[in-house]
Subunit: 232 residues, 2 copies
């Protein structure tokens, strides 16, 4: 499948590598390709500059947000929270229309220092903002509650016995994405929380996520929703 | 031990019963005892009116907020979110001073309908508001992420293999409360998230908690924080 990954940070890099390794045709989108490749600074959490990473992952295409979105049958938004709507604007409504848009971003605001706060929360969410701005796309919020390396390899932790969530207005799109999550990465326990307003709940997990990272001294953890088996 | 439980709703009732069953001397606090006993309406989620409940639990004392707080060596705040600061004001700073104050409340606001929003979140929390208002108390936020019946009986679900959190500024008080949680109810996995500002994280779990209740069709679930064993 042709897949667009918007954003060249560590989340975009890890997702693009993993999807390409599964045999998908992947194009990464960025604002300005030459500028991105010339950047000498590594993205937060990344091991390599984008140019170094791209030399190691030559099978991943690199284009503008619009080129990548036009290329993808499915579009994955892996930008920062503040970068999400500008990147999708640049991608262009026509290139997103009718497509599943997997939103992995979180509305983290580091401007007050650590720990970050959320720039939208409680009565709205970034997932909802994206769905409202692009009503022709099928926004599915997911993967935003785990570290990038865990997104693509849940089995590295407790054999994959932990939980992921999907939020979105289109039931069919959510079911399709749950299938992708299983086939692409091996996610077995994916809970459909409901419509896109339930993205508030997963984005509002970030404050405890950040503090757990501090308390546990590792980002390799996840929530498992422990519940009674049906009928109990 | 003498324990005060502020609030006569379902959380207060379930906690008071369970603590009394463990052999503790428990006094429940309310605004006006006669008025509370005369109430013909059951508390949200409760099976019985308070008078009926009290006839079944005669060993639990019933007093004003101030009488209960004066009685308790430890004070448990089990009021609604909006009720927390008024109840603690009525309890009186002198009756709370120097004591561990276990805050179980959540800042849920149902005034916009379902699902509820939070009346404080993101840059502050109810736990912090309480600690700021009562600087002489040792506020420990905990138990606010699970259903009342699960609070007092974690083993009813997956043998107790799921997680609780404590937040607070006093490390000794948090360790003491973690011991209470184990001894009183059987909680084995209690994570110390850090200072009282980490209560933002557990209070902000409520939006996903409410949606999981809807998705799973049961309130008997909890989060387990799955992580790598130390040294891995």
């Amino acid at each position: 499948m042709n897949i667009a990954v918007l954003g060249t940070g560590v989340v975009g890099q890890v997702l693009a590598s993993a999807l390409a390794a599964k045999g998908h045709a992947v194009m990464m989108g960025t604002r300005d390709v030459q500028q991105a490749l010339a950047r000498e600074q590594k993205a937060t959490g990344a091991q390599l500059t984008l140019a170094e990473w791209h030399r190691q992952n030559p099978q991943v295409g690199l284009g503008t947000f619009a080129e990548a979105a036009a290329f993808g049958e499915v579009v994955v938004n892996a930008t920062s929270g503040f970068g999400a709507l500008p990147a999708l604007e640049a991608a262009g409504e026509a290139n997103l229309d009718g497509k599943i848009l997997i939103d992995v971003s979180n509305p983290l605001d580091f401007s007050r220092g650590m720990p970050p706060t959320l720039f939208v929360a409680n009565t709205d969410s970034l997932g909802e903002q994206i769905q409202r701005r692009f009503p022709g796309s099928k926004v599915v919020k997911t993967l935003n509650t785990v570290n990038a390396y865990l997104m693509v390899n849940p089995r590295q932790l407790a054999g994959g016995d932990h939980t992921l969530f999907v939020s979105g207005d289109d039931a069919q799109a959510k079911a399709t994405v749950a299938g992708y999550l299983r086939d692409w990465f091996g996610w077995e326990d994916v809970i459909d929380l409901g419509d896109i307003t339930t993205a508030r709940g997963t984005e509002m997990l970030l404050p405890i996520w950040v503090r757990l990272w501090g308390a546990l001294q590792t980002p390799v953890f996840n929530f498992k929703v422990v519940r009674q088996a049906a009928g109990q």
